[in-house]
């Protein structure tokens, strides 16, 4: 007969207020196999843990059931406690009386009854537990950072500075991301490029960082400490070793009218181009879809212009395989397309622009060298209307969430306008002003009080053109919904932030989750904000939710700290909760029939083949084999297997069956 101890936690009032904990402990004493049961106010506290340790010694316990909060919360705590008392960690089980019972039910006899049932389930399980030993795996001491915006740059530099190797992969031809496009940054109004470009150079010169621009992660296998990534290095059509970045080729290219993505379509670029002057690396790329050499098969002007013979039309994509121990995903965001708001006239009227386009006008590196002009006739606008929440907090047509950065950058835009053109008028239509952050509210107040920006609380119903002006019709809800009509020269939409293109595909490749909007999901909103549910993969920046620069940098450093801590260890211990294919005496050898339906079902590609040989080395049977290093213990293969040939350690068929039958 088993000797199990049951410990019922009140969790302060959390469990104790709805569940009669002493009664639960009393009832447990009657259950077969239980030799000790007690309740305590906080079992996770030091005295609480000591009670468990003492009872293990006093009663020679062979198993422990802790009836407390979610095992996600304190299972490791209690497992450590029983280990201290000399018991195998996996002989301790947690019955979740908080999330599964007390938090979701009112105080009643039936609530206590359910709590008793929950303990009984774990009791039946723990009676069938077997001691398990943690699995030790080595660690590859290199990190992969995906995305070369400010988040990726910060994470890469921090990891590299801690002495570990970093591979930084950026999809576009240059580092910088959206931050490189910005003019000034709130709340200090320092120049975005001035603070970012030195860091870009640091990345390119850091001995521990391998920079791979114009590259994407194609495929990922493996697990924490031992990932195997395949990176597609797209063909720039330029030999990076030979190119000196002189720029001769850029002048000679005859394909000129290509929309310039870095300038948000406000200018054009050529088919061979460097995204922006300060780009790192300063190596051009040929846009094959617009290059005459590829489209018409005759132009070679860049080849003639290049003094170092660096143009390589035959260059092909390369697939590069790298081993990494940890991954930081920093793939950023994109802005919502404005087609969803025909009433604002974006696309119809050239002088309705997005916030990012305004950034390019305001930027010294932009199409107008920082003079704010309007696209239609190049004049400096006198009256500018800013429409906040263009798509954000709009469940009907846009997204439900707040894009977070728009209140601040709209205030900044209005301020920049007033600073650059003292006679101009700035109007901001807003829903609420969300300016929580250090010096943020002061910044918005400054825009209103010192720079005279007019804030109008209300939505815009329509924008239309009349006599060369854009008429913005809206309502002022602070004046009882009085209609407002402003004749503007320029309208700026603060469009919502969205998950970046290709982010859900990347999430699938990496086996990390997405939230309902498509942003990458953190493991715990409060306690694991930079971790994902896949161990060894961390998040930084706006790929997780809309973020401003200070938050992004803080999160990138946090992710880098996690990575550095991981890579500093000599090896890793993993939970031994892994599946195993059974073996039987000959002639069956295993219940596995070798149909390998489990192989396609396994989300972690942990299932391979094993050949059972006879004494002469002849294959008698080919069966499935699970790699314990890759297995995450999800149990999908167990459910898929028709013959029940696979069992999951710690959650065996026998244990689950016993749990169900105990009810």
């Amino acid at each position: 007969m088993s000797r199990v101890g049951v410990f019922v936690c009140h969790c302060g009032e959390n469990i104790g207020s709805t569940v009669d904990c002493p009664e639960v402990a009393e009832r447990c004493k009657q259950m077969p196999g239980v030799v000790h049961a007690e309740d305590y106010k906080y079992l996770c506290s030091n005295p609480g843990q000591n009670k468990i340790k003492q009872a293990i010694k006093d009663h020679q316990l062979e198993g422990v059931v802790v009836a407390a909060c979610s095992p996600r919360m304190h299972e490791p705590t209690f497992r450590r406690a029983v280990t201290d008392a000399g018991m195998n960690a996996y002989l301790c089980e947690v019955a979740n009386l908080r999330e599964h019972c007390s938090w979701v039910h009112e105080e009643a006899d039936s609530t206590t009854e359910k709590a008793v049932d929950l303990v009984r389930l774990q009791l039946e399980k723990v009676k069938r537990n077997k001691p398990l030993q943690p699995i030790e795996v080595p660690i590859t001491k290199t990190a992969l950072v995906i995305g070369g915006g400010v988040a990726g740059i910060q994470a890469a530099l921090d990891i590299a500075d801690s002495g570990h190797k970093v591979i930084l992969v950026e999809r576009s031809p240059a580092l910088g991301g959206h931050m490189a496009q910005l003019s000034e940054t709130f709340p200090t109004l320092d120049c975005s490029q001035c603070i970012l470009t030195p860091r870009m150079v640091d990345v390119s010169r850091h001995p521990n960082i391998t920079l791979m621009t114009y590259s994407e992660v194609e495929h990922l296998d493996g697990f924490i400490g031992n990932f195997k990534a395949t990176i597609r290095k797209r063909a720039r059509k330029i030999d990076e070793e030979l190119c000196t970045g002189c720029g001769e080729c850029l002048q000679k290219c005859p394909s000129k009218d290509i929309s310039d993505g870095f300038n948000e379509g406000l200018t054009t670029r050529r088919a061979i181009y460097v995204p922006f002057t300060q780009a790192v690396p300063n190596i051009p790329v040929i846009d094959v879809e617009n290059c005459r050499h590829y489209q018409k098969k005759k132009c070679d002007r860049c080849v003639k212009a290049c003094p170092t013979k660096a143009i390589s039309f035959n260059q092909q994509d390369e697939l590069i395989h790298v081993d990494v121990g940890a991954i930081v995903v920093a793939t950023g965001y994109k802005v919502m397309s404005t087609e969803k708001f025909p009433e604002y006239g974006y696309g119809t009227y050239p002088d309705v622009i997005t916030g990012l386009q305004f950034e390019r006008y305001a930027s010294a590196s932009g199409p107008t060298q920082g003079v704010i002009k309007r696209p239609s006739d190049g004049k400096e606008p006198e009256t500018v209307v800013f429409i906040a929440c263009s798509g954000s907090r709009d469940a009907a047509k846009g997204v439900k969430y707040c894009s977070k950065i728009c209140c601040m950058y709209t205030a900044k835009h209005a301020m920049l306008l007033k600073h650059k053109n003292h006679n101009s008028k700035a109007y901001v239509f807003y829903m609420d002003i969300r300016a929580a952050g250090k010096n943020y509210d002061e910044f918005v107040r400054r825009a209103i009080e010192e720079d005279g920006v007019k804030y109008i609380r209300g939505r815009v119903s329509r924008v239309y053109e009349e006599d060369g002006k854009l008429v913005v019709k809206g309502a002022d809800t602070l004046l009882g919904g009085r209609p407002v009509e402003i004749k503007a020269d320029l309208v700026v939409l603060a469009t919502a932030s969205l998950p970046n293109d290709g982010q859900s595909e990347l999430a699938r490749k990496l086996h990390v989750g997405c939230d309902e909007y498509g942003f990458l999901a953190e493991a715990h909103p409060k306690l694991k904000p930079v971790e994902t549910n896949t161990a060894g993969i961390y998040l930084a920046g706006a790929c997780q939710s809309p973020r401003d620069i200070p938050e992004t940098v803080a999160q990138a450093s946090a992710a880098a700290a996690k990575v550095a801590a991981l890579l500093s260890r000599s090896h890793l211990t993993r939970e031994p909760i892994v599946a195993e294919v059974n073996r039987r005496p000959a002639p069956l050898h295993s219940d596995c029939t070798g149909c390998f339906l489990c192989e396609s079902a396994c989300p972690y590609r942990a299932i391979g083949q094993e050949e059972i040989l006879d004494r002469d080395g002849i294959v008698i049977k080919t069966i499935a084999k699970i790699n314990p290093g890759l297995c995450q213990g999800c149990g999908t293969c167990v459910a898929t297997c028709r013959t029940k040939a696979i069992d999951l350690h710690g959650f065996s068929n026998e244990q689950i069956f016993a749990e169900i039958m105990s009810l």
Partner: protein
């Protein structure tokens, strides 16, 4: 028929096959399996419209595999089962030579999985007209009516496992039904045990059933049990566009995930 017998004789004589599995005349006008290993054996082989049973179940038997290269006289369902067994790695690809007999008696040798796939693609619906009618009847019922229908039918089950033994896809060395540690499915043929057995079998065949109807023909108490697995199979086909026995490439609906899945919760 002569063409088939000569072909079988040739294959055995030239060593292209060590055994030819086909049909021979049984008692009461039915056709039973025939295993020809010598020239004399081939004289027993017959082929006509009554050769309806699925012979593919024999291909996975160790005693047959031990005999060497196998040729099999294959009707449509045998060919489908052959492909599915190959997909599930129970048969090495191209290990079996399938002999498809046309109405005029000519024999086509299908030596590769690709040849079988192409041949199967041109074949009509697997279900007979009578079965199709029954399936339509079941589909027209409400869930409750279907439940009552199967409750009534399954009451008669004596759990002899003839359906399991006759099924070419039930090749597992250890069946879930025989697992007793723990005993997931109760052994006795009472209402619950019967229902659990047939539900589990239908789930295990969903996406794998080649709709040969062998289980229904094998049932000694006349339960049209093949309609249950066919129903599961056709549900998979309707919802995921996959059909068992259409290719030797494994594409198991219940074990794979596609990014364009119609359910949003899974993405």
């Amino acid at each position: 028929m002569e063409v088939l017998r000569n072909k079988a004789q040739d294959l055995l004589a030239q060593g292209q096959a060590q055994i030819v599995i086909g049909y021979e005349a049984g008692t009461g006008g039915i056709r039973r399996p025939s295993f020809a290993r010598t020239a004399a054996d081939t004289a027993r082989l017959v082929w006509d419209a009554d050769c309806i049973s699925n012979l593919a179940g024999y291909l996975t038997r160790p005693e047959i595999k031990r005999m060497g290269k196998t040729a099999i006289v294959a009707n449509a369902s045998t060919l489908r089962a052959l492909l599915q067994l190959t997909a599930e790695r129970q048969l090495a690809e191209d290990a079996v030579l399938a002999l498809a007999v046309a109405e005029d008696g000519t024999v086509t040798e299908l030596a590769t999985a690709q040849a079988v796939t192409d041949h199967v693609a041109a074949l009509p619906d697997a279900l007979s007209a009578a079965d199709r009618e029954q399936m339509n009847l079941l589909a027209s019922m409400s869930r409750e009516e279907r439940w009552v229908y199967w409750e009534k039918e399954l009451q008669r089950c004596i759990k002899c496992y003839a359906c399991r033994s006759s099924c070419p896809m039930c090749y597992c060395g250890t069946c879930t039904m025989d697992c007793n540690k723990p005993q997931w499915v109760p052994v006795p043929s009472h209402a619950l045990g019967n229902l659990e057995y047939h539900t589990v079998r239908a789930m295990h065949l969903a996406g794998r059933c080649v709709e040969c109807g062998e289980c229904g023909r094998a049932c000694p108490v006349g339960i049209p049990i093949h309609l249950l697995t066919c129903f599961a199979e056709e549900s998979v086909h309707q919802q995921f566009g996959q059909k068992a026995g259409a290719s030797a490439k494994l594409d198991y609906a219940l074990g794979t995930f596609r990014p364009d899945d119609k359910e949003s919760f899974i993405r």
